[in-house]
């Protein structure tokens, strides 16, 4: 193993080294150990509230009348507080962790199944979504993650599934009798599951498939968030997730040529399992994973290998992850991934290793650099390509941010830190620039802005 392999392990698969951390042994074993010793609930995240509590709070907030302005303000503040504390915990956890690879995988999958803090209701749940639907499943079966994701209140609220009503369901027919036009089928979640979460765009599904799938999804909802004041006394109305038969479109549904006749909640479970096992899903996931760890145009051989593993292992993500790190393509020296603002901010915070981390300061930094956590602007998640992030203005801001961070990290000697953090890849020109800096703070700033710190 060459020295640069540690740099690859720590920077391509992780979030970069720290001045006080040393790495020894084989880089690949270090990665494998993170799979074997994976802790789905790191210490920094244990105090965060779960989706049950947050969803109930959201429901209560929605049921507050307009005359309760003071209460409404407090409730709104409490909900915003959940976003802030979850963002803060995620930042702290990423900066502190030694299991950087596992963290990166969590973040990769969370971005694949993106939710957004911009959406009322879903926003405060973003942290709990990652905790409950993503983290427990990153080394399990893809189908399990998929099922957990699509029935989590954050996703049901984000993609409008919570309001979707089968036109011929009990509730749908009643609404039609009363002339309520707004109650009906919402296809948003069905479409995004096919387009973004599983098969991938233009993979052959039709509008008919979307509609049928949307019908199958009816009934999966978030009772606690539903506005209706009358139903709040009924059984199960304070649940964050439930299958409500009265909303479910009856009858068989045909999706991708297969007819599903199962009743109730089971119907969607079967469809999701079939989608998870679909070859188009294998290709879609393989491409995204390969792109995340190699380059914007991932090597076809790597994509094919991951795709095959996904199909052969039945979507086993542990097996898929091992296939990834055992591939020669991920250990090449070329660094083609431009760090996203999230990645660069975390890596920089790790490099300066402040005595105290103010996560909100790091969050403001990320926002300034153009990436606010869990706010991707679209259900597709944040773009995972250099063309999105390696743009002039954003580089300029990053360089300015490096100056501020450099002052905070001025107690380190950037001249010796460079070859430690970027072992085997620290260039002569960067070493020279750092050595010639006029102050320790400037040297540290140059280190954080160096080409080695920008690409992985």
């Amino acid at each position: 193993m060459t020295k640069s392999n540690w740099s690859i392990a720590v920077r391509r698969f992780g979030y970069g080294g720290k001045p006080t951390e040393t790495y020894a042994g084989a880089p690949k074993s270090w990665l494998i150990a993170q799979i074997d010793n994976y802790d789905p609930l790191p210490q920094a995240l244990r105090s965060l509230p779960g989706s049950d509590k947050i969803t109930r709070q959201f429901g209560e907030f929605r049921r507050l009348g307009n005359d309760d302005q003071g209460l409404k303000r407090n409730a709104r503040r409490a909900l915003r507080g959940h976003v802030r504390s979850a963002v803060g915990a995620r930042i702290v956890s990423a900066i502190n962790t030694r299991d950087q690879f596992a963290e990166r995988l969590v973040h990769f999958w969370a971005n694949h199944f993106a939710v957004s803090t911009e959406k009322r209701g879903a926003g405060p749940l973003a942290g709990s979504f990652e905790l409950e639907a993503i983290r427990p499943n990153i080394f399990g079966k893809f189908a399990n993650m998929l099922a957990a994701v699509e029935t989590h209140p954050a996703m049901l609220l984000y993609l409008d599934q919570a309001q979707s009503i089968g036109p011929n369901s009990r509730r749908g027919l009643r609404a039609a009798e009363r002339g309520r036009r707004r109650a009906g089928l919402n296809e948003n979640l069905a479409r995004e599951i096919l387009e973004l979460h599983t098969l991938g765009v233009r993979s052959g599904y039709t509008q008919q498939d979307v509609t049928e799938f949307a019908k199958a999804l009816t009934g999966h909802t978030v009772p606690a968030a539903r506005r209706n004041r009358r139903n709040q006394r009924s059984r199960g109305s304070d649940l964050a997730y439930a299958f409500v038969e009265a909303l479910h479109e009856p009858g068989a549904k045909t999706v991708l040529g297969k007819t599903y006749r199962a009743s109730g909640a089971q119907e969607v479970a079967y469809i999701l399992d079939d989608l998870a096992a679909h070859p188009a899903t294998a290709k879609h996931i393989a491409t995204k994973l390969a792109r995340h760890f190699t380059s914007d145009t991932p090597p076809p051989a790597l994509v094919t290998r991951l795709e095959t593993d996904f199909l052969v292992s039945g979507g086993d993500l542990r097996s898929l992850t091992l296939a990834l790190i055992n591939s020669p393509e991920v250990w090449v020296e070329e660094r083609d991934k431009f760090l996203t603002p999230w990645e660069w901010s975390i890596a920089s915070a790790r490099a300066i290793q402040p005595d105290q981390i103010d996560p909100m300061q790091i969050r403001r930094l990320m926002i300034n650099l153009g990436q606010d956590l869990w706010k991707p602007g679209s259900p597709a998640g944040f773009e995972d390509k250099a063309s999105r992030w390696a743009v002039p203005e954003s580089l300029h801001r990053r360089v300015e941010a490096a100056q501020t961070l450099g002052r905070r990290g001025a107690r380190h000697d950037a001249r010796s830190l460079g070859p430690e953090l970027y072992s085997g890849i620290w260039s002569k020109s960067s070493a020279l620039a750092v050595a010639r800096a006029e102050s320790p703070a400037q040297a540290m700033a140059l280190l954080l802005a160096s080409p080695e710190a920008m690409w992985r």
Binding site: A390, V391, P392, L395, Q403, A433, Q442, P451, M454
Partner: protein, 373 residues
Amino acid sequence: MNLNRRKLLGGTAVALGAAAMPSVSFAAAGSGSKRLIFVLQRGAADGLGIVAPVGDPDYARLRGALAENYADTERVGGLFALHPSLEKSARMFANGEMMAVHAVASQYRDRSHFDGQNVLESGGTRPYERKDGWLNRLVGLIPETDASGIAIAQTIPLALQGPNKSGSYAPSRLPDAADGYMKRIGDLYMADPRLHMLWEESIATRELAEGMDGRSNMRRAADVGALTARILSADEGARIAMIETTGWDTHFGQRQRLRRELTSLDTLIASIKDGLGPLWKETMVIVATEFGRTAAINGTNGTDHGTASATLLYGGSLGGGKVLGDWPGLRQSDLYEGRDLKPTGALEDVIASSVARHFALDGDLTKRTLYPA
């Protein structure tokens, strides 16, 4: 059409080297009163845009929209036109106080700013071969015992670094510490082509956004010129000064950017001349860059890293008014690696021979000292 390139130069083309340099009549035998200013154009200045070979039949085709700049400019040396922004320089050219040497390059043949500037400043044959600079070694050659060199900058650039006495001076009105950092970033990114392009673009965009139409640049150039003249005017003081200029890396929007940088350069030289007064007669200015730019315009109305460029010389007793050099032509087969102006003269020779003449030094010794190879 079979063009004889030597003829195109109006019969002035000669092999470069000491013999080719302008014959300058020096008033005094001693060199005690001589001054030298080296202006480094960091970023690869476009020699084909600064001293444009408008008479070359391939120029308009290669340069497209960029060739339109010269419609109303007067021809110099038969084949060429000075960029219209070099207004005051053109007058100096007419008075024999300016000249250009075309199609020259240092020994460096790759296209990295970082390495190219290192070779140009150090006087070595390969990047990072030497730790001192030719300008510093020149300080040691000047007979005056207390001769020294000074950089009008916050730090001493490599060209002036070395065992001989040198310093730097930058008044507070010059770019502050933050700009120093930004400049260092610019240098740092020269090692990474992708970041380099992004960085250049971000700088240019910011300057546009901040309404820098060149006026503040010009003011700064005039200030730097006046300051340099003041420093060099002292009886006891620096005899050699170095000024670094940036903004020459015109990958895009070359028309506006070259106009701005050349207006600044023109202002800088003119204010040096004004400030020096009678001492201008004893002064020579060398303007050089690490390498030139591609012969053809690129897809973003700019030019990319190339090879040969043009070097400018100024001075009160220069005997200029010509464009020297062995013009290689711009036909596809004439271009270096099929894309760049081919170097037909060594920048090292131009510098060594002109400073040897200027300071009345032995030519061979000067060459050996500045460029030990």
